[in-house]
Amino acid sequence: MSLPTDPFLAADHRLVPSAGGRTGAPEDVVVLGRRRLVLARLRRNRAAMAALVVLVLLVVAAVLGPVTYRWITGWGYIGQDRTALLQPPSAEHWFGTTLIGVDVFAQTLRGLQKSLLIGFLAAVISTGLAAVVGAFAGYLGGWVDRGLMWLVDLLLVIPAFLVVAVLGRGLGEAGWPVLTLLIALFAWMITARIVRGTTLSLREREFVLAARFSGVSVPGIVFRHLIPNMSSLLIIDATITVATAIIAESGLSYFGFGVRPPDVSLGSMIAVGTPSAFTSPWLFMFAGGLLVLTTLAVSVLGDGLRDALDPGSTRRAGR
């Protein structure tokens, strides 16, 4: 067949140097490496590039913003300006102030910082867990597989929100790492299933059989062959999990089960701002807008990554 339905396939079959026997390097054929092909494809996707720029700006703002803002205006997320209670945005307080005179801009940046940190960490942990569990379950099969998949089923049935809320309630101010872990703990199951499914087909692939028949150990096969060959799936999935985790964190914080005062999160800011949404919208609109902007950028980037890494795939579009 000569239909280049999948540009990758086309690359595999076409961009090959003059081959066969003892012929040396190709004369005039430029071989595009996979990485360059992916980057080129990503660069052509305008939405994904815009999302990437937005995301980079958000990270920069979250990291450098608080320091810079304090340097310019002198306000942090804790201090109170007793001369400006519940003030709309101004030059002094860019996003206005709260009922007790805390600077909303400084709070928003602090919240953004927390959200991004929790989001990225949870994504890394959850995707790593999913990859290891899914790959071992799929490759080993038998009772290991049955046991692990039972665990996955169980975690899917357990009301995650309820459990995290119950446990998260007891955490103090410094509880965000535990919160991150809990979020990650309930975010990996579906990915693990997909990884297991992919492993089931990969383990019958000849390069895996070849490794097994030449004496490579089980962990060797899992970490050297199986997981690297799912890297596009995992990258895409990690991206999507960043968004999921941020949403989960903000939801928990919205109900007061997540990040605790005096620390702030975008979710808790929205919760505080909602009752007076109609009279002083600056209290929650900036936080909400930034939250949506972050998750939107992450989702769009994830979608673009999938198109670039995995053209023609049918799996998931955002979660």
């Binding site: 239909l3 003059s18 081959a19 066969g20 690297p228």
Partner: protein
């Protein structure tokens, strides 16, 4: 162009062509600009005529067929002209074209599993083809569908019409595709690789059915295939495509006998032939050009052994060959005759290692001994709702051995248990029943360490060069992986990789490349290098060339031949392509439904097959020479392999056995009561499992490979 050729005997002289394709071009959207797939293809057909379009992957043969049907994605650009009885089809609206598709031009696709809608019943899908064009009631269409299914040889058609595609075998699905294609008596029938994924006996059935279909409908037929032997049997004329262009065309007999384009010569020279086992193969070096960056001049120039300077600058047109109705696209077509140019062969015969000294077989130690091996599988149904419904015996008590320096060919159709056998052997796990010993050691008695140690001695080369190399690792790491697993130091690994690359005919710089950067042939060489890394004594070759284009296949086969002689390796060569097995193997074991039915010296088994299944297999293999091919009579088998969960009593082959069908009842009883064991036949250690075995040479005379004949050609 070709349309000006005198038409063949099947059509009356002077009539306008029924179907005419002129200057067809197709281009797809590529990563960097349009990629041409078809670059000016022309042909014409009259009623009842059969045209074979032959080409390797990427030659544009399938794209041209889809373009004719208007089935290419809208992103593809198509130009030229396609006329059916003078009516132009290109540029018609989808609605108008739909009225022609299926009624006047019908198509049979490759891979009949994905080509049928999985969620609709077979009968409904056939009935739909009737209803679209004939405006009959649903009930009438259904009755007609059952009739059609019956006509294409679906047993129990009325009942099977209610089944879904996944409940049909590959051959049966292809019959359904043909039933749909002939439902409306088309004028033109296009078959795109109609037999590619099928076993050889099923291929013979489907080809016979296509011929019947052609006779029933009188349709002009286009058969698109990569298999020169298939075309030799059924086509009147042939078009050879390369890099999107026709490079040679004409009536089949003269084209096969005296090809003028070096590419055609190379193709014919690289196909192993069942009737000429000792003949060395001439590989075509290199790979087809990248269509997105076609070089100036002839696209074949970099692989052509007789190219001249003009070939690099001007692309030759498809022009008539002197005093004939044939055409070839080669600047030197006038100088070439019968595969030779200026007295020398266009493709020089490769240097093949001289035959090793033949010590008698009994004197050589056994590398692998298998006795009464049994392997069972659980059977499950459903995908989401899985459950176990029983056990099948995939391998049921087979015995064979392989001596040092010997190649055993294990042949059989898909589902016969040959892959299961190989996997069981490679696992080095104790068999459920029976005994396996490698290099004199019983596998069941091995410790964990002993098993790992034995891994060094038996290695494997797989079928698919695209799947057998990890795409994420550079070639050097892939080859070194077995060494790494056995704790060889990094330094020694590097040296060994260089040696191995050299051994399989690649250069050291390939070590830093990734598999994606290499061609199929190169990848398969890397697979071989990896298998040789631990210096094994036995190499298991699981269909090592069946995924390769023929022009590349020959080079790999020659390499395997070379390695066997130089390294004294023993091969277990698993294959379904009997021509390839014939070329490689010293001994052959034929497998059917989990049993060996015939074992022996290759010359004996191929020259004097005694089991009716071996005979049928051999007769089903087409030979790429029109003259020979058309005179052969085929032994056609009915149906498919029996359901392994429900095997016939007595002899497992009796449900399909042509001999059984002719036996008188009292003899038949023996077949249905007694399972025939392997018993010695005429000479040597030739054995077969048939109560009524008799020698029946299937291949054309002179096919036998005598010992003396062999050393001549080697």
């Amino acid at each position: 162009m070709i349309r000006q050729e005198p038409t063949t005997s099947r059509a009356p002289e002077g009539t306008a062509p029924l179907f005419e394709v002129r200057d067809l071009t197709v281009a797809f959207v590529g990563e960097s600009g349009p990629v041409p797939a078809v670059r000016g293809l022309s042909y014409a057909l009259s009623r009842g005529e059969v045209l074979g379009i032959v080409g390797e992957s990427g030659s544009g043969k399938s794209a041209s067929a889809l373009a004719v049907m208007g089935l290419l994605p809208s992103s593809a650009t198509v130009s030229g002209s396609v006329r059916l009885r003078g009516e132009e089809l290109l540029g018609l609206s989808d609605r108008r074209l739909a009225r022609i598709r299926g009624s006047r031009i019908a198509m049979v696709f490759q891979d009949p599993l994905s080509a049928l809608t999985p969620v609709h019943r077979i009968g409904d899908q056939v009935a739909e083809a009737v209803r679209i064009h004939q405006g009959v009631s649903a009930a009438a269409a259904h009755d007609r569908a059952v009739e059609l299914l019956d006509a294409v040889g679906i047993p129990n058609a009325a009942q099977r019409a209610r089944a879904y595609p996944h409940e049909f075998s590959g051959g049966m699905r292809q019959r359904v595709m043909i039933a749909m294609a002939i439902a409306n008596d088309p004028d033109v029938l296009i078959a795109d690789e109609p037999t590619t994924a099928l076993d050889v006996t099923v291929q013979a059935q489907v080809l016979a059915l296509l011929e019947t279909a052609r006779r029933m409908t009188g349709a002009a037929t286009v058969v698109i295939t990569h298999d020169l032997a298939v075309v030799a049997g059924i086509a009147d004329r042939i078009v050879v495509m390369y890099a999107g262009k026709a490079v040679e065309s004409g009536p089949v007999v003269p084209v096969y006998a005296d090809p003028r384009m070096p590419y055609t010569i190379g193709l014919l020279g690289s196909v192993p032939r069942l009737d000429r086992p000792g003949r060395p193969l001439t590989p075509i070096e290199g790979a087809p050009p990248d269509l997105a960056r076609l070089p100036q001049g002839c696209p074949f120039v970099s692989r052509c052994p007789v190219n001249v300077p003009v070939c690099r600058t001007i692309e030759p047109a498809l022009e008539p060959v002197a005093r004939s109705d044939r055409r070839a696209a080669c600047h030197r077509r006038g100088e070439i005759a019968f595969g030779r140019i200026g007295g020398a062969p266009v493709f020089p015969l490769p240097e093949i290692a001289s035959a090793r000294e033949e010590s008698p077989r009994d004197g050589r130690p056994a590398v692998l001994e298998v006795r009464q091996l049994v392997k069972r599988h659980p059977i499950t149904t459903g995908v989401v709702l899985r459950r176990r419904i029983g056990t099948i015996t995939a391998v049921d008590g087979i015995s064979f051995d392989i001596r040092e320096g010997e190649a055993l060919g294990l042949v059989g159709e898909s589902g016969c248990g040959k892959t299961t056998t190989v996997m069981q052997l490679l696992e080095l796990a104790a068999p459920e029943e029976g005994r396996v010993s490698m290099l004199g050691r019983d596998i069941a008695s091995l410790s964990r360490d002993g098993r790992k140690h034995l891994r060094r001695e038996v290695q494997v080369v797989f079928q698919d060069p695209f799947a057998s190399l990890d795409p994420r690792l550079p070639v050097g790491d892939i080859i070194a992986e077995p060494l790494r697993a056995f704790g060889v130091s990094l330094d020694r690994r590097h040296g060994r990789v260089r040696d191995l690359l050299d051994l399989v005919g690649l250069s050291a710089e390939h070590a830093n490349r990734y598999p994606a950067d290499l061609s199929g042939g190169q990848r398969q060489r890397i697979g071989i290098a990896r298998a040789l890394a631990l210096e094994p004594r036995l190499l298991v070759l699981d269909e090592p060339v069946s995924a390769l284009d023929v022009s590349i296949q020959a080079g790999v086969l020659n390499l395997l031949e070379h390695l066997k002689v130089h390294l004294g390796l023993a091969y277990l060569f698993v294959g379904h392509d009997l021509s390839v097995v014939r070329h490689v193997a010293d001994r052959v074991a034929v497998m059917y439904a989990g049993r060996l039915v015939e074992v022996g010296d290759a010359d004996e088994v191929f020259g004097h097959p005694t089991h009716p299944y071996t005979q049928a297999l051999l007769s089903a293999v087409p030979i790429p020479e029109p003259g020979t091919e058309r005179q052969r009579t085929r032994i056609l088998l009915d149906g498919d392999l029996p359901d392994p969960a429900d095997l016939p009593s007595g002899c497992r082959f009796r449900s399909r056995c042509p001999l059984f069908a002719r036996l008188p009842p009292e003899r038949r009883r023996r077949c249905s009561d007694v399972d025939p064991p392997l018993e010695p036949r005429s000479t040597g250690d030739h054995q077969s499992a048939c109560h009524w075995a008799r020698d029946n040479p299937i291949l054309p005379a002179g096919a036998g490979r005598s010992r003396t004949g062999r050393s001549d050609t080697d």
